[in-house]
């Protein structure tokens, strides 16, 4: 880790100005659970940090109007246990509470969590001479054009959806998957003012430029997340299958929210995690459910539809089957929930 300068602004405007004053190596830092971690691995090499967590008023959770609005600095643990979120939008609450550990959820903010970087082992484990371990693997995210060691390598954890010849790294988050299912919008502030961004537009596919993971400008800062209130929220779940029961990244996960009358599905929102290069909206699975009476078989068929375009590698083929079954289970769990 190289020496850093550290600034602690108290307003968004000050933060943007501080970012500009620190020059090219400036980065915003919130909880630090991704950025500081990657600095210790010598992957992120900022020369200046703008700590946004001392900005006042950015941690507000507002569920009073037609929308849910989460200030970017609201802690993951706090949004997870907000009474309205817990009771009316279990998909959001569960996505947060199944992520990481309580310690990290107390640190990480719901805004900066959207910018969590991949856990691909060839990306993370290596390069740094000291704390980064002994390895040094080709990775197009780390060094554009250096190649992808995961393709043809140990790829059990890699993505099967949205992959390219340059990268198969999984988008690691849980919270972004739930937000994609719920069509959240992101409030972004930058030197030129504020803008709203549908969350689906935050994450580009890797294509030939896997090092570009987010569509934000470096100077831009996430200030809030907005979700239109909807009836599907109450009949929802975030189902996450991992290599252990807790404190692990998803092998496959599914955010599912349904509107139903009787057994009939009127609306479906389905997104996938752990299997794709970005939070993955499963339109084909949704389409298969809408207008039909839900059965176990239909749920399984919808799960399979979600993976129709999957491109497995050497040893992650099981994710296609596991992912389909995870979606199917999530659909049935969500359906069993009754709106209040």
């Amino acid at each position: 880790m190289q020496p850093i300068r550290y600034i602690r602004p108290s307003t968004v405007r000050e933060a943007i100005a501080a970012h500009a004053s620190l020059g090219d190596g400036a980065r915003y830092i919130a909880g630090g659970t991704t950025l500081y971690d990657l600095m210790k691995l010598n992957i992120e090499r900022p020369t200046g940090l703008v700590d946004v967590t001392f900005i006042e008023g950015l941690e507000t959770i507002d569920t009073s109007g037609d929308t849910l609005r989460f200030g970017a600095n609201a802690r993951m643990a706090d949004v997870a246990t907000d009474p309205i979120v817990q009771s009316q939008y279990p998909v959001l609450s569960e996505a947060l509470s199944k992520a990481a550990s309580q310690q990290l959820r107390n640190m990480a903010t719901v805004g900066a969590n959207l910018l969590q970087r991949t856990r691909c082992m060839y990306f993370r484990n290596g390069y740094g001479g000291a704390s980064g371990g002994a390895a040094d693997y080709p990775c197009n995210k780390r060094i554009p054009g250096s190649g992808c060691a995961a393709i043809g390598g140990l790829d059990r954890g890699q993505a099967v959806l949205g992959v390219s010849d340059a990268c198969t790294a999984v988008s690691p988050g849980d919270w972004p998957v739930a937000l994609v299912a719920m069509d959240a919008r992101i409030e972004v502030a930058g030197p030129g003012g504020e803008r709203m961004l549908p969350i689906s537009e935050l994450y580009p596919l890797p294509g030939e430029t896997p090092h570009i993971e987010f569509t934000l400008e470096p100077s831009e800062i996430i200030v809030g997340i907005v979700i239109g209130k909807n009836a599907a929220g109450a009949r929802s779940t975030y189902h996450k299958i991992r290599d252990r029961e807790s404190f692990a990244f998803a092998l496959a996960s599914a955010a599912v929210a349904l509107e139903m009358s009787g057994d009939r599905v009127n609306a479906a929102r389905i997104a996938l995690g752990g299997v794709a290069t970005r939070p993955w909206r499963a339109d084909a699975a949704e389409a298969m459910l809408i207008g039909s009476d839900l059965t176990d078989d239909l749920a399984m068929a919808a799960g399979r539809a979600a993976f129709a375009d999957a491109v497995p590698g050497r040893s992650n083929g099981f994710k296609v089957e596991l992912g389909a079954r995870t979606v199917a289970d999530a659909i049935m769990i969500a359906a069993a929930r009754r709106p209040l």
Binding site: Q2, A130, S131, G133, A135, L154, E321, R325, T326
Partner: protein, 722 residues
């Protein structure tokens, strides 16, 4: 000679531990401390051709960068298997991650920054790091282990199970990072380090640094988990010690976990082909066990023939043929990791036993009971004690085994969850090491005993306290137990479940002798009160005794001399006239989710036979730990190696998945607590390793019972059941 069962007592160092007070290797605060970090090689094999350090030296706060030029040639290895030469910095690279430079700086931040800017140049040679990758593997067989006429009996057997089972590379991952703090002051070298082998480290350092062992002290009072990884002298120790001697200031190195994966020992991948034959009456008659295991190019430990320690001594099978082969690769030395040989060997063997019971239509508990043993087929000598049948019977009773439907896939819950019940037995050699114990009781109310032992959490301090307090009435609160410190007593390596057998009989003997000396001293007077009061009454400030003890059959002088030299002097499990083994029976329930096939272990019952139980509370905790290790090794852990690069890809706690709290549910443990009549004066047998033995097979057998799927590799993961 062996008395009543010991009473329950709280762990004697628990109070310090809940206060966060123990000083582990990296916790010793010292004025003027410098911080160090090693730079690892990024090739698997070859030579470092250049090591530019100018940019590192320009980093503010850097004091010095050590290179191979600062070190002489590595010392010649001494005789004895447990003392490989301590690694120094050298130009030749034999494994990926080998340290090539040491940065020392005023702060940790500066040391890391400087290490990151060092870019050594290498000349890489072709290498082979996986046994199944290509033809770079050298197969290196050692002598067979044989009893009877196995091949003929297998040919005659009515039924033969012939299967191959694989156990992966796994890393210990003690919670405490490997570290060394070295101080060179007033002509003495003091090393604070979590090691299981203080005196061995002391003598290895003396050889590596060319100094007299008498001026070296190694202190390892608390070890934050050992599991065998801290048995060999660690990679960084001599390098850090030399840096401290050259710089004249204390130097501390805390090895990052990612580097530990690359420089420390690990459980090597091993493959076990088992051929198990039974006669027409369903009596097991012969076993052939072909074991092969990863090893570095020159390494010796772990020796593969020790996969044959446990399987022949569980059941009365007269014919046993064990072959043993090293698979030599371009890796760092593997080592002993908790339950080292029996863990993979019994995953194979006890899975095969289950397969045989099923093939014969026998209940797996009843089948095991029907194949009891009294004799060690490898020596023809009796087993000193074997209460495995009691473990099986008690475990079956507590588990409710009689409710089990024997048919696979027969116990399905209403929601489709598949339930499976499995059983397996385990065994581990019960060994013993020499010890020299010095014991002082003072009139001021204090007492101290110094002897060999390292406290890694197994509870050896508590066991020593129990042993002492059994024989003499002293103030337990003021009993100091000095272990892991070469300045207090010579320290034998504490591994292989022999810590208690080394320490407790010696502590009991010391306490008995102290009592006898007190009686002599009182000379018939009747003085009320404890030993401190008695000493005060006769105006003696303190009384010292010293005892030296060796294992049955050991040459006393030779064993004590080895102990004093930091060497290796292990008795058993084959003692003159008998063989001593510890035993355990594991009963496991698994539940398999109907659609996503997650495997859960809601319930385990494990009953152990470790002879006399010295410290019931810490012994129970050892069983809990062994079961957690079994669950973790069976369902979670595998170190992943990309053969194109070498090294270990999943080298952190996020990617090397170990069991967390949510993975562990109800575990019920029990101890038979019957003294072994032969093994030692205390009647105890080892416990810390056997607690894991057979656990993997019990889980795999339960998974088979639940699903009908027989998985013959570890770890068993979700994709195996989809």
């Amino acid at each position: 000679m062996q008395g009543a069962p010991f009473a329950d007592r709280a762990r004697v160092d628990a109070l310090e531990k809940v206060l966060g007070k123990p000083i582990y290797g990296a916790d010793m605060p010292l004025p003027g401390m410098l911080h160090a970090i090693t730079v690892p090689a990024r090739i698997a094999k070859g030579r470092m051709t250049a090591l530019p350090i100018e940019s590192a030296m320009r980093v503010k706060g850097v004091v010095r960068v050590f290179t191979p030029d600062d070190f002489g040639p590595a010392p010649v290895p001494p005789a004895g298997r447990y003392a490989p030469p301590p690694p120094m910095l050298i130009w030749d690279i034999t494994f990926r991650g080998q340290p090539v430079a040491l940065v020392v700086a005023e702060t940790l931040e500066a040391a890391i920054e400087a290490a990151e800017v060092i870019r050594p140049e290498f000349e890489e040679q072709p290498f082979s790091v996986l046994a199944d990758a290509d033809n770079g593997v050298v197969r290196d067989a050692v002598d067979d282990v044989a009893a009877g006429n196995t091949m003929a009996e297998l040919a005659r057997a009515a039924i033969v199970i012939d299967q191959t089972y694989t156990s992966p590379t796994q890393h210990h991952n003690t919670m405490e990072l490997l570290s060394t703090t070295a101080v060179w002051a007033e002509g003495r070298l003091t090393v604070h380090e979590g090691t299981q082998r203080s005196s061995g480290v002391q003598h290895d350092l003396a050889r590596a640094l060319g100094i007299d062992p008498a001026i070296i002290e190694v202190k390892s009072a608390y070890v934050g988990g050992g599991f065998g990884q801290r048995g060999p002298t660690q990679c960084q120790t001599a390098i850090v010690a030399r840096a401290a001697m050259i710089l004249g200031r204390p130097v501390k190195l805390v090895t990052p976990r990612s580097q530990i994966f690359h420089v420390a020992t690990y459980r090597p991948m091993s493959v076990h082909r088992i051929r198990l034959g039974a006669d027409a009456e369903g009596r097991m008659v012969a076993v052939r066990h072909d074991a092969e295991q990863e090893q570095s190019r020159l390494g010796m430990d772990p020796p593969p023939d020790r996969y044959h320690d446990a399987p022949p001594r569980i059941y009365g099978i007269p014919n046993y043929l064990g072959t043993s082969t090293y698979l030599r690769l371009d890796r760092q030395n593997p080592g002993f990791m908790r339950c080292p040989h029996p863990q993979p060997a019994l995953f194979a063997f006890e899975s095969a036993i289950d397969e045989m019971a099923i093939a014969l239509g026998r209940d797996p508990v009843e089948f095991r009971l029907a194949n009891g043993a009294t004799t060690d087929p490898l020596t023809g000598n009796p087993l000193s004690s074997r209460f495995l049948d009691e473990c099986l019977a008690e475990g079956a009773r507590r588990f409710g085994w009689e409710q089990r439907n024997p048919l696979p896939r027969s116990m399905t819950a209403a929601d489709g969850t598949q339930i499976g019940w499995g059983v397996a037995a385990g065994a581990y050699p019960s060994m013993m090491v020499p010890s020299i114990a010095s014991f002082r009781v003072s009139a001021d109310g204090s007492a101290r005993i110094a002897l060999s032992g390292h406290e890694m959490g197994q509870g050896i301090r508590t066991a020593i306290a129990q042993a002492v307090l059994k024989h003499i009435d002293i103030d337990a609160e003021r009993l100091e137990i000095a272990i892991g410190d070469t300045s207090r007593a010579p320290q034998h390596i504490t591994v292989g479940s022999w810590g208690t057998a080394g320490a407790v009989p010696a502590a009991e003997a010391a306490a008995r002798r102290m009592r006898a000396r007190l009686i002599e001293l009182l000379d018939g007077r009747n003085v009320a009160g404890n030993a401190h009061r008695q000493l005060a009454a006769v105006r003696r400030p303190y009384l010292d005794v010293e005892v030296a003890q060796t294992a049955p059959g050991q040459d006393r002088e030779e064993a004590l001399s080895a102990l004093r030299r930091g060497g290796y002097a292990v008795g058993g499990p084959e003692y003159p006239g008998f063989t001593a083994m510890s035993y355990i029976a594991h009963f496991v329930e698994v539940r398999i989710e109907p659609r996503t096939r997650r495997i859960r272990v809601p319930r385990v019952v494990s009953i152990a036979d470790c002879g006399r139980v010295i410290s019931p509370r810490t012994a129970r905790s050892q069983i809990y730990g062994g079961v957690v290790w079994a669950i973790s090794a069976t369902l979670r852990e595998e170190t992943e190696i990309d053969p194109r690069f070498g090294g270990y890809l999943n080298c952190d706690f996020a990617d090397y998945v170990v069991a967390v709290n949510a993975d562990i549910a109800d575990i019920e443990v029990g101890l038979i607590d019957k003294p072994d009549p032969m093994a030692n004066e205390s009647g105890l047998k080892g416990l810390g390793e056997v607690v894991m033995a057979g656990g993997s097979a019990a889980i795999a057998n339960a998974i088979h019972h639940a699903t009908g799927v027989r998985v013959r590799h570890l770890p068993i993961r979700i994709e195996d059941l989809l």
